[in-house]
Symmetry: C2
Subunit: 400 residues, 2 copies
Amino acid sequence: MYNLLDGLRIIEASSFVASPTAGLYCAQFGAEVIRVDQIGGGPDYHRWPVTDAKDSLYWENLNRAKKSVALDLASPKGREMLQELVRATGQFITNFPADGFLSHAKLAERRADLVTVRIMGWADGAPALDYTVNNAVGYPLITGQGPEPVNHVLPAWDLLTGAYAAFAMLAAIRKREQTGIGSEVRIPLSDVAIGTAANLGGLAEVLHNNADRPRLGNAVYGLFGRDFVTKDSVRTMIVVVTHRQWANLVAALGLRSAVEAVETQEGVSFAADDGLRFEHRRGLFPLFEKAIGALSYDQMEAKLDEAGVVHSAYRTMWEAAHNPRLVGDNPIFSACSANPSGFAYPAAGALGTIPQMERSDAKPAPRNGQHSEEILSTALGLSSGEIARLIDSGTVGIAK
Amino acid sequence: MYNLLDGLRIIEASSFVASPTAGLYCAQFGAEVIRVDQIGGGPDYHRWPVTDAKDSLYWENLNRAKKSVALDLASPKGREMLQELVRATGQFITNFPADGFLSHAKLAERRADLVTVRIMGWADGAPALDYTVNNAVGYPLITGQGPEPVNHVLPAWDLLTGAYAAFAMLAAIRKREQTGIGSEVRIPLSDVAIGTAANLGGLAEVLHNNADRPRLGNAVYGLFGRDFVTKDSVRTMIVVVTHRQWANLVAALGLRSAVEAVETQEGVSFAADDGLRFEHRRGLFPLFEKAIGALSYDQMEAKLDEAGVVHSAYRTMWEAAHNPRLVGDNPIFSACSANPSGFAYPAAGALGTIPQMERSDAKPAPRNGQHSEEILSTALGLSSGEIARLIDSGTVGIAK
């Protein structure tokens, strides 16, 4: 937690990964992010992974440091209250449909300068999910050894969309501060996916070559990079991104003359050309397999570190969770025992670190409706009697 | 292109994917992003994919709508000029080392309110890349069918870090506008990766279970989702995220009684529990394989669309590039024939769409040094004579 965004209040009505991530990043930088959820939780409130008691470890991490207001969003009164909260606040993150009761036009009727950031599936409102846009743009068919497509496990499009949404929120607020004009930024997962394929040169590549990129297994496209296995069976990723790293790697592994032989045979020089190292990988990889296969992991690590070559052994997530450099000694993590699940474990704070500012500990996620009374009082000015009647009538929920 | 960020000038000294992406997102929202590069280009200037003439399709897409100043960054004078450009501008995105001539402390010596966003490998300054942090946190070992690890092809950590960096830049600027205080936000790829594993509940999961998640192939964890193959051999991803979608899917495929038989046998009800549908996937998947395998793709598509179930056939990227909904008819793309490579193809603009504002066409990337004279004049106030001498001495480069 840092207080970069203190004073900024955001209403979030959202589910799944992308939209909650946008709110999470804002909350971890100090914004007051108020989730408004169905009483008892939205469609992702029990999503796996869960504890034995079925509390969602997913939900309680994607919603840290936020507040929770619970409303009956199936009722006209509950919907109206959410609309009023958005209008009273002026900033709104959501993945609700663009044309429903949370349409920007409807919300802006009495809050002309509203900023809405809306995460969508397709731009036309059709549904899409991370795992469907991923295969729609082609990545699973160039992942792995083939011939079957391989889905990613990391919901990369959701996460990228969430971070981009947080950025878009601040950009639109900046515009409003300078001009007084609000806006809605719509961010469809499908556009994030195909736009990113374009940004990385992937679309230009297949149009230029009039062909798809071949599958490369674990090799990296366009440069020297792949997984290799040491004598003691440690599989390690090694990637060369500078010419100096290449020279150092070849020297460190005693491969100068062997690499020169490939250069002579092929009539090329690898010294200053990433692409040639990639094009001739079939000649180069066996040399490196043999050299690395003759070293223990410790020996290889020492040589590569001295050579300044980037490498990393493959780890399981359990191993990563127990790695001091990644978690135990990493200042982005702090102990958090107040999780709704009751399970205590290291909690991540802001992904960025500001040396000039003090980082405060990660906060727990709220329980459903934990802040209903506080927010309805401070944001909508409702009296405690009015709030009590709304609770009694089932329109407002509070944490049990 | 939208003009949300007009009036904001940012210096970018960067290479590879994450840092250029941060600048790209700002430029596509209207900021004036000025890349400062080594004369002739930095280490990623020729990165694949490339054209026959070896122009980088990667570089020219990650650097659209930016300006380019070329300096000899190996010389003291060139380095000093970059430092002065940063100080004169006040906003800086970089992946240069934290302790070198572009350290925040050094730059802030005569620009106390400077905002620096610095992308790093590890937080301690050790090098890391997307493909090494990915395996350090565990994803390749739960991707695919196993037993080998499967690397992702999409540089998801780079992209997420880039978007988060753009967000952090605006958050830090907001703080400065309110307090006058600048700051440096450091964003290590390793922290983005392990922090995201935490945000998604993955770390809590392996700590709670004291075990790694098993590999699931193309099945989605914690809910009903997988790839299925139609009678005419079209492989399609199908994902169920709401209870209504589940009921509709079961009905649409005529599987009510078969699913009820599984429920009876296992003593469960799938109607309102994503997790149970996942836990009992071995009983459920064969029913759906058979039902979908009896339908043509067109038949299946019609049924699933009517049922509101999210699905998508696997496509190659070549197919995606030729898909009208994704590219040809998609307003985020515009024709761009002025690319440095000379190759003309659809160019992506901002990933978000603002219905209230007009989107202008995507702009090409600059040629190396294309804006050297303009920027040295407007930002540093150098005279044309001074600039000419710097060009003659090899400190400043201009586009050929």
